[in-house]
């Protein structure tokens, strides 16, 4: 357990906003269920990022407030709005797209990430079971994998660990971790702390991270 009080850290919305800064026009992006879903709300207006739902839709723009259409949903079952150039296809086509390396960025939630980039996010220990959904395919197939999660678990223990304790989603797949406290690159040499949340020190982050973090020469406060 860390020896100092936990700093406040970012809201879920601000984590999503920080993740959105990683996206560029023309990228094909899959947003996982939960926090990642919020990312689509924080794109600069007019920037054409193409969101894929693994249930068979490409080119949705966000969550819809309109009347519910059961056939127009994302992979979280949420109603969505469609952008120009949207298309629909079956699940075989959808996962051929995912596994074939045609998704530029996947943003998934995480339970644990190891310093080697192993991801654990499908098994819910408190329920003695879980759901895999598209997570293993996205983790293996996306060109770049961003994990958006709270830096610590409910007991304030570290989610970023030397080894994952929970069953893996995939080994060695995570490229970037964005939490309420920090932005961390997963590099072959280990974890690199690139940014800290406003009001959070590198020591605060290290205290809540099991493996040793290297500090980026360009370490800075997140620009939100």
């Amino acid at each position: 357990m860390p020896d100092s009080a936990r700093p406040a850290g970012l809201s879920r919305e601000l984590i999503a906003l920080r993740v959105a800064q990683e996206l560029r026009e023309g990228m094909v992006v899959n947003l996982g269920i939960g926090l990642p879903t919020l990312v689509s709300n924080f794109l600069p207006p007019g920037e054409e990022v193409i969101f894929q739902g693994e249930n068979g839709v490409l080119g949705y723009t966000g969550i819809s407030e309109e009347e519910f259409d059961p056939d127009v949903i994302n992979a979280g079952g949420q109603p969505i709005t469609l952008g120009p150039g949207a298309s629909f296809f079956d699940s075989a086509v959808s996962f051929a797209m995912i596994r074939g390396g045609h998704i530029d960025v996947a943003v998934l939630g995480g339970l644990e990430v190891s310093e080697k980039g192993d991801l654990a996010n499908w098994y819910l220990p408190e329920r003695g079971g879980g759901s895999i959904g598209g997570a293993m395919d996205l983790a293996c197939g996306a060109e770049r994998l961003i994990i958006a999660m709270s830096h610590t678990n409910r007991e304030d223990g570290p989610r970023i660990r030397k080894e994952c304790e929970f069953p893996l989603t995939a080994p060695g797949v995570v490229d970037l971790i964005v939490t309420d406290l920090a932005v961390i690159d997963v590099e072959p040499e280990g974890l690199l702390l690139r940014e800290v949340a406003p009001g959070v020190s590198p020591e605060d982050v290290q205290a809540r991270t099991e493996p040793r973090l290297r500090l980026s020469p360009d370490l800075r406060e997140m620009q939100l």
């Binding site: 519910f68 079971g129 395919d137 893996l168």
Partner: protein, 230 residues
């Protein structure tokens, strides 16, 4: 004249026997054959092996747990983080009264496609280094290791489409496709629930998502209302 239309969901299920393996199309609210699922509940068929993307809280398939109709389920979503609530399926699973095989979704659909296309299985990297690889064969292709995932085939596929004609041609609507067109290829008897039956000339050949040759029976039903509450 080819005519695959039957009058009611119950009649469409006339030869579904205890112990049957059944695929169910649908992804949460989209393209789920709810009327066929409810007919299966009424029929009371036992010891079913079910194959569907999702079963659990809010899913129509959960009704098959009321009278313990399921022996085994193959799915990608089953036990979900959903606060304190749990589905009937989860309850039965916890008590050891139903077996669960959890499959990555891409592997799930590709195994079904493989079963429908006469292929020997799927060679995939998904699942390597995880619990999913337990007990499975790996195959090395040009120095890279792949997991061999076996084909899935079923006695019946229950699917949902938007429109059909008497020949069994199906047109899907938007994200209602999902697993439906693939499952239609991988079962001995394919039963389609549709919202509209139209004249055979009315379907655009460019828009047919499942050619009628895959479909054995078509039944027109009022869609069962589905609501989304996350």
């Amino acid at each position: 004249m080819i005519d695959k239309i039957v009058e009611t969901p119950d009649e469409a299920l006339r030869d579904v026997q205890d112990g049957a393996t059944i695929m169910f199309g649908g992804f949460v609210s989209a393209g789920t054959p709810s009327n066929l699922i409810l007919a299966l509940q009424r029929r009371g068929t036992k010891r079913i092996t079910g194959i569907a993307n999702n079963i659990g809280l809010g899913d129509k398939l959960d009704v098959l747990c009321e009278k313990r109709q399921l022996a085994k389920f193959i799915a990608t979503f089953a036990i979900r983080a959903s606060g304190g609530r749990q589905s009937m399926f989860e309850e039965l699973y916890r008590r050891g009264e139903v077996e669960l095989e959890l499959v990555p979704q891409g592997t799930f659909v590709e195994r079904i496609r493989s079963g429908g296309a006469g292929l020997g299985g799927v060679l995939t990297r998904t699942g390597l280094g995880t619990m999913v690889e337990d007990g499975k064969q790996t195959v090395s292709v040009e120095g890279t290791e792949y997991l061999l995932e076996k084909p899935l085939h079923a006695d019946f596929a229950f699917i949902k489409a938007w429109k059909a004609d008497r020949m069994g041609n199906l047109v899907y609507r938007r994200a209602g496709r999902n697993f439906n067109p693939i499952m239609a290829t991988a079962a001995d008897i394919v039963i389609a629930e549709v919202e509209q039956v139209v004249d055979v000339e009315e379907l655009d050949p460019e828009r047919i998502g499942t050619p009628g040759v895959y479909v054995d029976r078509v039944v027109q039903c009022e869609p069962v209302a589905v609501r989304w509450d996350a």
